[in-house]
Symmetry: D2
Subunit: 353 residues, 4 copies
Amino acid sequence: MARVNVAILGATGAVGQRFIQLLENHPWMRVTAVIASDRSAGKSYAEATRWVLAGTPPADVAALPVLPLDADPDTPLIFSALPAEVAMERELELAAAGYVVCSNVKSHRMADDVPLLIPEVNADHLGLIDVQRRRRGWSTGALVTSPNCTTTPVVMALAPLKPFGISRISAVSMQAISGAGYPGVASLDIFDNVIPYIPGEEEKLETESRKMLGDLDGERIAWLAATVSAQCHRVPVLDGHTVAVSVALDQQPELSAIREAWESFTGPEVVRDLPSAPQKPLVVCDAPDRPQPRRDRDAGNGMSAVIGRLRPCPVLGYKFVTMAHNTVRGAAGGAILNAELLIAQGYLTGVTV
Amino acid sequence: MARVNVAILGATGAVGQRFIQLLENHPWMRVTAVIASDRSAGKSYAEATRWVLAGTPPADVAALPVLPLDADPDTPLIFSALPAEVAMERELELAAAGYVVCSNVKSHRMADDVPLLIPEVNADHLGLIDVQRRRRGWSTGALVTSPNCTTTPVVMALAPLKPFGISRISAVSMQAISGAGYPGVASLDIFDNVIPYIPGEEEKLETESRKMLGDLDGERIAWLAATVSAQCHRVPVLDGHTVAVSVALDQQPELSAIREAWESFTGPEVVRDLPSAPQKPLVVCDAPDRPQPRRDRDAGNGMSAVIGRLRPCPVLGYKFVTMAHNTVRGAAGGAILNAELLIAQGYLTGVTV
Amino acid sequence: MARVNVAILGATGAVGQRFIQLLENHPWMRVTAVIASDRSAGKSYAEATRWVLAGTPPADVAALPVLPLDADPDTPLIFSALPAEVAMERELELAAAGYVVCSNVKSHRMADDVPLLIPEVNADHLGLIDVQRRRRGWSTGALVTSPNCTTTPVVMALAPLKPFGISRISAVSMQAISGAGYPGVASLDIFDNVIPYIPGEEEKLETESRKMLGDLDGERIAWLAATVSAQCHRVPVLDGHTVAVSVALDQQPELSAIREAWESFTGPEVVRDLPSAPQKPLVVCDAPDRPQPRRDRDAGNGMSAVIGRLRPCPVLGYKFVTMAHNTVRGAAGGAILNAELLIAQGYLTGVTV
Amino acid sequence: MARVNVAILGATGAVGQRFIQLLENHPWMRVTAVIASDRSAGKSYAEATRWVLAGTPPADVAALPVLPLDADPDTPLIFSALPAEVAMERELELAAAGYVVCSNVKSHRMADDVPLLIPEVNADHLGLIDVQRRRRGWSTGALVTSPNCTTTPVVMALAPLKPFGISRISAVSMQAISGAGYPGVASLDIFDNVIPYIPGEEEKLETESRKMLGDLDGERIAWLAATVSAQCHRVPVLDGHTVAVSVALDQQPELSAIREAWESFTGPEVVRDLPSAPQKPLVVCDAPDRPQPRRDRDAGNGMSAVIGRLRPCPVLGYKFVTMAHNTVRGAAGGAILNAELLIAQGYLTGVTV
C-alpha cells in the first residue's frame, strides 16, 4: 500500500507539531502539506514554527512550504488542529469539498451527525458518516472528531463498565500544561501552583462523555443517561492528564468484576491491528501509587489509558484514578487512530489497506 | 502578661520548625525548650537542625540545647510534632504529668475524650477537657489535637453550611509536598508528576471531618451523620493544599445563601481576638480561577481558608474549591491557635490574659 | 512629613505590580497615579490588571483609574517600568517637564549623564544629575536608573572588592522566570528545563557592571577597567537570580580579607537609614550550600544580596555565588531605594525629610 | 553471536535501573544477574526495587533473584553502580577473580592504571588494561571506569579542540536531580530553588577532565596541562546536565574552525559502529537558545552531547554551552558503550563479535 498523503491544518501549533511527530515513519500516511495562519504562509515549516517538542521537526516536513488557511491541499485526508473559531466554518467547507477531515477541535464534536470517536469505545458511531453525507450532501467528504483530552481517559475507563449500568459520574482532573497549547500557560501562573479553572473544560467533559458512552440508535446517538460532574484543574505537569473518578453503578458489582472488565477490554477487532492501536487500551496498575503521569503517560506509546486505585467510594460506590497522555491519546494520536479506522473501514474513497 | 514558656516536641522536623518560626515574636508565648530524637539531644538547636524553611532559625532558639525525648521541660505548655508512633505514649505521659499538650499528631485525634479542634469551628468541643481530666485522673494536664492538614480547609468551608444539612461530601485533594515533612517526598518522585496516593490520608479526611463537624453531646461528640469520600493526591506545589469539594445539602439553598454563610462566618467571639486568628477565617474569591495555592496560601498570614468556584454540581448539588496553608493553618499555626484558645479560656492553670 | 505622591508608569505589568506592592504602607511615598498602555486607560486599576503576585492589589490602588501613557500625573516623582521602546522617549519628556523619574528600564542606563545606581555602591554617581540638568536644560526634572536584575547581585558583591583591584570577571547566571515579566516565559519552555539564552542580558551585565563599579570623574563616569564575561540562563525558579562568579584581583588577598570586606560593607551613611535599605546589604552565608534563591531571596525584605561559597578559583583566583531577589532589589525595590536617596539628598524640589 | 551474559552490581539503585532499561533488547548483552545490598538479596528484582524510571522493569529482569554483594555471578562482564565506599574493594576483588568490570563509580577513576573512558574521546587509554593486568597480576579480569556525569559533556565538547591548545577551562554546571540517585534530592530542597553545592562534584570535574583529555604515554596518562575551574549547581530539571563553559585556546582559532572541529568529530572508527554509539557524538545547535536539557537530552538516544551558543569570551577567549543526558551518556549508557568497545577490541576473553 502506498502511503496516503495527509495535510495538517494548524500545523505550527502544539498539537499540529504532535501530529507531525507521530506521523513520522507512519506506515499508512505521510505528511505532505502543512497549513497554518496567514502569518506563517509562504515560509518553510521550519521557519514558521517554534518547535516546542523534543529535538527538531522531521527534515522532510521542515522543508515543506506552509500553505494559507484557504488552501485546498492535494491530499484526501486532513487532520485539523485549528483554533476552534476558525475550524467552525473551514472544516465544513473541506468536508463539503470532498476531504475526509479528522478533527481534534471542539467545534463540531457535539453536532448530531458528527461522530465523536474513541475507536476502542464507540467505533460503531462511524455509522453517523452515512447520515452526515446524506443530510449535508457530501460525497467523499466526511467529518470525524476526537474528544477533549480530559474526557478521553475517563471514557476509556468507563466504557467497559457500561454493562454494569452507569448512573452518576464525578470526575476531578489534574491536567498537564501541554493541554493549553503554546505559549499557553504562563510559567508565572502555574509554577508552584494549581489553577482550579480551565475555561469550557468542565462542560466538555460533562457532555462529550455522555455522547461517546451513548448508543447509535438509527440516525442519532442516544446519550448515556447519567449525570456527570466535572471539576478541572491545571497542575505543574508537562504531559498526562490525571483524573480522580467516582462512579455509581446500578448493578453494584464486586471490585474484582470491574477489574476483570478492564483487563479484558480490547475494543472491537477491527481496531486491534491498527498501526497506532496500543496492545492494551487499558493498563491496570497494581502498585497503590499509580498511575502517575510522568511514569505512565508513555504506556502503549502514549495511546493507553492507565488506571489504578480502584476502591469503594462511600458516596457513589466506586472510585479510581485514570490517566492518559493528553497530546498523544488525548489529541493527535487519538485523531490518527480515528483516521486509521476510517481507512481500514473503507471510508477513504479509493484507498485500501 | 509575661509570655508563657513553651516547649516544642519534635522541634527539628519540618513542622517543629514551623512552630518555631511562627512563635518568634509571639505576644503570649516564647519557645524555651526544644525536644527531639536522642540523635539530636545534646547539640544546640542550630547544630541539630537542617532548617528547611526560608532564612535561618531565630537566634534565641538556635542557641537552645536540644533535650531528649524523655525530658520534662520547665514549661506549662507543650506543642507536639512528634512522629505518630512516639507521640502515642509520650503525649499521654506528659498530660498525666500536668502539662497542657497541643498536638499536631494523629495519634490521639480520634480518641473519644480528646478535642480535635479548629477554634472557629468547634471551640465548644473543649468541653471534652473536663471529661478527659476526670476519666484519666489528670489535674492540670490536658491533651488537645489539631486536625490533618487536608481536613482543615474542607471543614472550615463546610462548617458554615451545617445549618443547611450536610448529607454527603466528596473531596479530592491536590496536596503540597511540604505536607510530607523532610526529607519527605523525593524530588525524583514528584517532579513533573502527580502521586495519586498518600498513605492514611483519605481515612483521616473521612473520619476527622465528621468528628469536627459533630456536636458535643454531654460527654461525647455526636459525629456528623454524613457519608464522606476522599481522594488524595500529591502535586508539585510547595505549600498549600487545594481541595475540590462536592457536597449534598438537605435544604438545597441558593448559591447566594451559601456565599452569604461563608462571608458572615467568624467563629465564636472568644476566638476572634486571639493573636493568630485571621481577620477572616474564610476568604471567598471572586476571580473564577482562584483560590490558587501559591497566590492565596498566605491569606490571613496563612491562617485563612480561601474558597472559590462555588457552582451547582449535577451529582451532589454543590461544588467548590477550598485551600489552606498546610503547615500554617493545617499544622503549626492551627495548634498555636488552639493553645491561644486554651489560654484565653483559662485552661492553662495559673496563666491569665 | 507628608507622604510624596508618586506615579507608576507601566503599572499593570509585573514590575509595575511589584512597585505597587512594595509602596503599600511606605512611610515616605504613596501611589496616587497609575499609568499604562492605552488599552488599559480608563479602566480601574483592578479591572485593567491581571495581578500576578500573591493576594490581590492594595484596595486604594485597585480603585485608581488607569491613565494613558501621555498623561502628566499630579506627582513630583515617577517610577518607570515601561517597555524599553516606549520608555526611550517618554522618560526624557517627563524629566524635561520637571518630573523626577526613577526608571527600572534599560533605555537610558548607559547614557553618559544618567546615573545607574545602587545606593550602597555608587551613591556619589548622583553627581551626574547636575550634569544632566545643565546639559539638557532640565530644572526640577531628573532621570535616574536602576540596573538590570542580574547585574545587581554581581555588582553588590564586587563593590567591596574594588580596593583589591578587579581585573577580570566571569559571571554565569541562573535566572528566575519572574525576570521576564508577564506572561513572559511560557511554561512549556521552562518546565523541566534550562534555557541558555536571554536576549540582551549578557551585554547588560558586561557593561552595566563596569559603569556602576566605575568612578565619578568630573562630569563623567570612568568605567572600571576590567574585562567582564557573562553567560545567562533561565532556570525553573520563581524569584531570585543566582550568579556563579569568578574574579581576578590584582592584590591577591586572603579569602578572609574578602569575607571581611563583605561583612563590613554598609554603603555610605546617608543610605543606611533609608526606609528600604536592608540592615545588611550583603549577607554572607556559612552553610556550604547557600545562597539558595527560595530560602534566601527574602533576606533583608528582598533587598540584601546573599553571598556564599567563597573559595579559590584555579583559573581566575577567586570564585563565589551571589544571589538577590530579582523583582525586589533587582527591580522595583532598587528603584524605590534610589528614590529614597534622591529625597534624602534633596533632589526632589520642595520635599524634605 | 550469542548475547553475553552480564551482571549489574547495585542493580536496585537509580543508575542500576538505567543499566537494566538500556540493556533491554541489547544486541550483544543481556542481564542475567542482579546484585544489590544484603537487604534486597533473596527477593525478586521486582520486589526489591522501587522502580523510579518510566513504566515498569523488563519482565525477564523483574523475575531474577537479587544476589548478595559477595556473589560471584556466572557472567564474564559486570557493570558496577555500587555506592563508592562498597565499590572500592569489591570491584578490585571481582577484577582479580577474572571479571571484566565496567564501573560507573568514582572509586577507581583516578587510579594510574585504570582507564577513565569516553570511547569517542580516548579509546586508546584502553592500553592501560595491559598495564593493570601486569601490575596487579590479573589475567582475564579488567577494570574500566566511566567519568562523572558532569564531566562527560565538557570533555566531549573539548576533545575536538585539543589541537588548538587548551590552557584554561572554566565550567559552571546546572545539574539535574536524577544525578543524585534515589531518594536523592528532597523535593523540599530543590523545588523552586537552585542548590549551589554538590559535594565532591567540582573536584571530579577538575581532575577527571584533565585525565581524559590527556595522552597515553607508555604506561601512564600524561594529563592535559590545563587549569580547570568548576562550579556545580543543582537545578530543578529531571534529566540532563547543562554546563556553561569558557575556554582559552593557545591558537586562538576562528569560531568557524571550532564549529568545524565539532561538526567533523566522530571518534575513532572502531567506536562508530558500536551498538550504543550515536550517529553524531556531538550535535551542534543553530538555534540561539539551545541546547536545552528537556528538548535535547534524548539526542542520539541520550548518547550525544549537544552544544550551542559558541561565541567569544572577553575573559578566556571562547564560551559555549554543552549538555548531555546524565544517566544515559553520563552514567549507564557511557559504561555500556565502554563495554561494547572492550568486546569489540577483544578484551573479553572468549567473546568475539
